[in-house]
């Protein structure tokens, strides 16, 4: 029995002339994600992308991976039948026998995009339903809430038999909306922010600030682990680690204590902007949420924005912590994020950070720093690793 995966393109069908480019990007992303599952042939027809295995492989794993690829609204693992109604009936009974023998109720749904095929959809439902009732006499038909829905799709190439569709990851193909640099601290919020922007079709690089010896090597390993968790959704991520201790030490020594965090955030934004620009990114992404901490008040955000030379996207800006945590659990970054290793944001934290900083005061407070040298050193010393 031949099986494949049918992938439905959601929002993409709304695209106009560039729809083909979106579908091509989607197939490229999907193909890459299945690379080590097995050899697959990808093709598209009628708003559907087909992933057909060319060798014996783990289709469950393929479905699991494809369900995390942005751009697909739904997917189904299906049996391929020749376009002959008797053959379809036999194959339906055989392919779905495990679920049908365990279920009490079922229904049949038919979609006939090949209008030359007979019988028509209502007859397919009626006749196939009758056939399955004979094969599985314990079953009853329930058209409203069946335990199993047998779906038959009559398409150009062949007929496909499957159960209910499973939801896809939604969104747009990663890479189609450009690239952005995610500031990845190691906390709960930033991986979620990265996931959300990747869902809108952005490919990501990540920038992490490490502050040894004030932060540990484990904090860096944790950030790598987070990238690994994100990559089934976000695709390949190039992670830049910036050595940040020198900057933090100088801020601590030379600037007023209450401005420490805001000045540090401004340096992060500036460094990330430069790394982003060098890597052809059009924006920065942060996991900031209004008023969550002192550096995330409106006035503080205005001061950090002023240091960024690219737009700063903050997808979790209006979310409660609980809402962010729900997504973090869904994408499985939560347990890694809460590992108790200090990140650089916890180094030298002032007792009373400025919550209403004004830009001209901040600029004055940071004026003692040899700005250009510090930025140059930090960018020069950054190391990168590709994950995923």
């Amino acid at each position: 029995m031949k099986e494949l995966v049918l992938l439905k393109c959601g929002e993409l069908t709304l695209k106009g002339l560039n729809r083909g480019a979106f579908e091509d990007a989607l197939m490229k992303n999907a193909r890459r994600r299945l690379k080590d599952v097995g050899k697959f042939k990808f093709y598209k027809a009628q708003s559907t992308i087909y992933a057909e295995p060319l060798e014996d492989c783990d289709l469950d794993e393929a479905v699991a991976r494809l369900s995390k690829v942005f751009g697909f609204s739904a997917l189904s693992r299906a049996a391929v039948a020749v376009k002959d109604f008797d053959a379809i009936k036999e194959l339906s009974a055989e392919y779905l026998k495990d679920s049908l023998s365990l279920a009490k109720t079922f229904k049949v749904a038919a979609k006939r995009s090949d209008k030359t095929f007979t019988p028509a959809s209502p007859e397919i439902c009626a006749e196939l339903g009758h056939f399955l009732l004979q094969k599985f006499p314990h079953l009853a038909v329930d058209v409203h809430s069946p335990e199993v829905t047998v779906i038959v799709e009559i398409r150009d190439y062949a007929a496909y038999i499957h159960r209910e569709q499973t939801p896809g990851a939604g969104g747009l193909p990663v890479g189609m909306s450009g690239s952005a640099a995610l500031l990845l601290s190691g906390g709960i919020d930033s991986p979620v922010a990265g996931y959300m922007m990747a869902k809108r079709g952005l490919s990501l690089i990540a920038v992490h600030f490490a502050s040894p010896p004030y932060t540990s090597e484990r904090a860096e390993l944790k950030v790598k682990a987070l990238c690994e968790k994100m990559s089934p959704y976000c695709g390949r991520i190039k992670l830049f680690t910036v050595q940040f201790s020198e900057i933090q030490q100088r801020i601590k020594e030379l600037c007023p204590e209450d401005y420490f965090t805001i000045i540090m955030r401004r340096y992060m934004m500036e460094i990330a902007s430069k790394i982003a620009a060098e890597n052809h990114c059009g924006a920065l992404v942060t996991g900031e949420s209004v008023a969550q901490v002192a550096s995330q008040t409106l006035m503080a955000l205005a001061c950090t924005d002023a240091a960024a030379s690219l737009p700063v996207l903050r997808p979790v800006i209006g979310m409660d912590k609980e809402e962010i945590i729900t997504i973090a659990r869904k994408i499985d970054t939560f347990d890694t994020s809460i590992l108790p290793y200090d990140d650089c944001c916890m180094v030298f934290t002032p007792r009373r950070p400025k919550t209403k900083p004004r830009l001209h005061e901040v600029i004055k407070a940071e004026s003692a720093l040899s700005h250009d040298d510090l930025i140059h050193h930090a960018i020069h010393g950054a190391v990168s690793v590709v994950i995923g």
Binding site: P213, Y214, T215, S216, Q248, P340, Y341
Partner: protein, 377 residues
Amino acid sequence: MREIYLDNCATTRVDKDAAELAAYVMQTVYGNPSSLHKKGIEAEAILTEARRRIAIALGCAPDNVYFTSGGTESNNLAIFGAASANKRTGNTIITTAWEHSSALNPVRELESRGFVVKAVSPEPSGHIDIDKLAALTDGDTVLVSCMMVNSELGSVADIERLVKLVKLRNSKTLVHCDAVQGFGKLSFSAERLGVDMLSVSGHKTYAPKGVGALYMKKTARVAPLFFGGGQEKLIRPGTEALPLIAAFGLAAEAARNNFSANLAHLTALFKHFVKNVALTENLCMNSPPDSTPYICNASLLGFRSETVLHYLAAKGIYVSSGSACGKGKPSYMLKAAGVSRARIDSALRISFSKHNTIDDVDAFFLALSQAQKEIVV
């Protein structure tokens, strides 16, 4: 970069001949000691020899040695096993506030199951007042559990005196000693101590991780935690981890044979360390002067221990910190000992092995003085 490992209370490097013996057993004497055929008999001989070696090191008969997976299991077996087998004797457990978590948490669990738990805190001197601990014993006391050497400070408890005092008050009370940090480092005999149960672990004394033992007196009634085959006289069923057990036996024998030489060497290191502490600005000892020479706990005041730990690690010097990290909790052991928060947050535990040298200690202090100059606080 030269590696200077000063975290030997966390774990030690396995002795070369012990590691080789483990590999030999894995590859050659791979039979199951319970098998009836020749391979089984060969394997059983290895097991018997290892048990004999551990027994000599513990100062007891081989029959009193039960192999486990390590210190945590030995402590769990002793505490849960004794409490559940002797419920009729009483309902009270006595212990100290700074036991290792593998002894403290089983006791807490028993408390949640209805046992009454009484715990004494250490004195400001950094010691457990044994008389005070023993005085808590009454007719209802089923178990007294006390560690021999505190794993963070190195303080030594007089277990022999504890047993005598406890048994005077209630002869039925069982006494358990967690000797994980004392085994191979202090001279003791389980029989002479008089304890009913005593836990040891392999990897703290140059044997592999994953093996330990529980000494049990014949008269001590202990219920097993696991049920299965007949190994370890039904107390600890499961196919014996023979390669690890064999290595443990050899490492324990070596520790015993070289005990005096090792102790003299470690005492010299400890003295050198203490002398340097006095010469180093902002550094103060937390360990009591009479602690085991294997452990030195000191605080570099004003410097967070994790920062210093990472700084030293970057120079190839490995120590451990008094508290976990900013997000973690401060050391409950030091807290119980009444050490101030400032000292806990800056505490470093330096723990030696027979491999360390005076040069290692000097390198540590040199790096520590550089840390004071370079780390911004």
